[in-house]
C-alpha cells in the first residue's frame, strides 16, 4: 500500500507538515503561543513544566518536547526559552538539528522581553512557513507509519466492538511493515499475562512486566486504592466494574501481532525494527498520546465508549466508538461507528476495513474530526512533584 507523505532529511515520512513552536518551560509557554498566533499554520505546545524539576523527571520533559520536534509530522521548529529555565533552548535546538530539519531558537531574557522575543520569533518563522508551503508530498509505503493506540472514556462496548476493530486495523498496518504502540500501563493491570506471552524477547517481556508492576506498586505504596481513580466514574456508569475488566477490553487494540519491545515514555519507536510495541504511559489519555507522539507516532487511533474530543497539536487522531448511542450523541467528535457491530450485526472485518481505509485517507491528508475542530490537547507525564 502506497501513501503520499512529506519526506524529512532523516529519511522519515510525515503525514502533516507542521511548523511547531516549542517552549522549553512553562515560563516561555505564553510567549511561544503569541508567536505561533502571528504565523498562519504554526502551532505551539502548552508546556506546563521544564523548570525546577529534578533528575529523571526533568529529563523526561526534555525528551518529550524534543520528541515532538523530531516527530516526522513536523517540518520546522522554533524553540522558545526563558533563559534561566531548567531546559535550555539552545540544547533543545541542537538536539533537533540532528534531524536535519530547519530549527531556530529565541531566548526571552536575551531578546529583551516579550515584545522583542515575539518580533524575533515571528521574523525567524515566517520564512520557514514559506519554505514548508512549497514542499510536496511524495509516494512512500504505508509501512512508514507508526500508529499510537489509545482508549479513553471506555465502556463495555470498547472491549466488544471498537478495540477489536482497532486490533484488526493494527494487524493490517503491521503486515504492511508499519508499527503500532499499545499504551496506558495502568490499563494493562489484570491483562499483563496475556500480553507478556506475546513478547518475542524475554528481556523485553521482563521489562514490560516490571513497568506494569511499578505502576501497581505505586498505588500500593501510597496506601491508596487504585479504584479511587480507575476505573473512572464514567467507566463505571457505562458498566465497567474493575480495572481488570477495563484492561482485558483495552488489550484487544493490540490485535494479534507479536510484541517487539517495551518502550519507556516518549522513547522513539526504532525505525529499523518495525512491529508491535508497548509504551509505558499513564491511563490519562492526554499524557499517554503525548508520549506516543513524542515517540514518533504520525497517527493515533482512539477508541471511546463514552465519547471524547481529544486531539493532538501535530498528529491526527481518529476517533472510533463501539457504542452506537454515543456515536449518535457526539457526531462532532467521532469518526467511525463500530457500534454497528452491536446494533446492526456488522462484521468486525467490514468495520476494520473501513477504519484502515480511513487511516490511509488521513495519511494522505484528509482531516480527522479532532483536526477539523482544532483540538490540540497536550500533557507531559510527571514522575514526581515539582521542586
Amino acid at each position: 500500500m502506497k501513501i503520499k507523505a512529506y519526506r524529512r532529511p532523516d529519511g522519515l515520512y510525515g503525514i502533516r507538515n507542521h511548523l511547531l513552536v516549542i517552549p522549553t518551560s512553562v515560563c516561555a509557554a505564553d510567549t511561544a503561543a503569541k508567536i505561533a498566533a502571528l504565523v498562519p499554520g504554526a502551532v505551539s505546545i502548552p508546556n506546563q513544566h521544564g523548570c525546577c524539576q529534578i533528575g529523571s523527571d526533568l529529563a523526561l520533559t526534555q525528551k518529550t518536547i524534543v520528541g515532538f520536534g523530531k516527530n516526522p509530522n513536523v517540518g520546522a521548529v522554533l524553540v522558545v526559552g526563558l533563559g534561566c529555565d531548567g531546559i535550555q533552548a539552545r540544547n533543545v535546538a541542537a538536539e533537533l538539528r540532528e534531524t536535519g530539519k530547519p530549527v531556530e531558537f529565541v531566548v526571552i531574557q536575551e531578546c529583551g522581553g516579550t515584545l522583542k522575543t515575539i518580533a524575533r520569533g515571528a521574523e525567524l518563522m515566517a520564512p520557514m512557513a514559506r519554505d514548508l508551503s512549497t514542499q510536496e508530498r511524495v509516494e512512500c509505503d504505508m509501512g512508514e507509519i507508526v500508529m499510537g493506540l489509545e482508549c479513553g472514556g471506555s465502556d463495555p462496548t470498547s472491549g466488544i466492538a471498537s478495540n477489536p476493530t482497532i486490533g484488526y486495523a493494527s494487524n493490517k498496518l503491521i503486515a504492511e511493515g508499519g508499527s503500532s504502540i499499545l499504551s496506558e500501563t495502568t490499563e494493562v493491570i489484570g491483562a499483563e499475562h496475556l500480553i507478556a506471552a506475546r513478547f518475542e524477547d524475554p528481556a523485553q517481556r521482563d521489562k514490560f512486566l516490571a513497568q506494569v508492576k511499578s505502576v501497581e506498586d505505586r498505588a500500593i505504596a501510597m496506601g491508596e486504592d487504585l479504584r479511587s481513580g480507575q476505573p473512572t466514574p464514567g467507566n463505571k456508569e457505562g458498566g465497567l466494574s474493575t480495572i481488570e475488566e477495563k484492561s482485558l477490553g483495552c488489550m484487544y487494540k493490540a490485535g494479534t501481532a507479536p510484541f517487539k519491545g517495551a518502550l519507556d515514555y516518549a522513547e522513539i519507536v526504532p525505525p529499523e525494527k518495525r512491529g508491535m510495541y508497548f509504551m509505558d504511559t499513564p491511563g490519562q489519555d492526554i499524557d499517554s498520546i503525548t508520549g506516543m507522539v513524542a515517540g514518533g507516532a504520525q497517527l493515533v487511533i482512539f477508541s471511546t465508549g463514552r465519547g471524547t474530543p481529544t486531539g493532538s497539536p501535530i498528529t491526527p487522531v481518529i476517533k472510533i466508538t463501539g457504542n452506537p448511542d454515543t456515536y449518535a450523541k457526539m457526531p462532532d467528535n467521532l469518526d467511525v461507528n463500530a457500534g454497528r457491530i452491536i446494533s446492526d450485526g456488522a462484521r468486525l472485518e467490514e468495520i476494520g476495513e473501513e477504519v484502515f481505509g480511513l487511516m490511509v485517507d488521513v495519511c494522505n491528508g484528509r482531516q480527522t474530526k479532532a483536526e477539523s475542530l482544532g483540538h490540540h490537547e497536550f500533557g507531559i507525564y510527571k514522575l514526581t512533584g515539582t521542586f
Binding site: P156, T157, E216, A219, E224, S241, T242, E245
Partner: protein, 92 residues
C-alpha cells in the same frame, strides 16, 4: 439483536446488549435466566451463582471477586464485585 453476549465459555457473567427489565427472561446459549433487577445496557448479568469471595470471569479471565453472594440473573457491578489489584487500601 440478542439480549446478551457471552464472550467466553468460562465466563459467569454476560454483557447485556440492551437494557433489561426485572422479571424478564433472557436466553443465553440455549439456557434461560430470569433477570432479578433492572440492568442498564452494556452492564453485566450473572449466569451462575458466585459465592462471596468467589471469582468473577469475563473474557475467560478474572475481573474481580464477589463481595457478597451473587445469584444467576443478578446485576454484577461495583456493588457486588471488586478489583483484586492495586489495593493499597488493604495494606494500611
Amino acid at each position: 439483536m440478542n439480549a446478551a453476549l457471552h464472550i467466553n465459555e468460562k465466563d459467569n457473567v454476560v454483557t447485556c446488549l440492551r437494557a433489561l427489565k426485572k422479571g424478564e427472561v433472557i436466553e443465553v446459549d440455549g439456557r434461560s435466566y430470569t433477570v432479578n433487577m433492572d440492568i442498564p445496557r452494556f452492564h453485566k448479568v450473572a449466569t451462575a451463582a458466585i459465592a462471596k469471595g468467589g471469582m468473577c470471569y469475563k473474557y475467560g479471565e478474572v475481573i474481580g471477586d464477589a463481595t457478597q453472594d451473587i445469584a444467576p440473573g443478578d446485576h454484577v457491578h461495583v456493588h457486588n464485585i471488586e478489583s483484586t489489584r492495586g489495593r493499597g487500601d488493604k495494606r494500611r
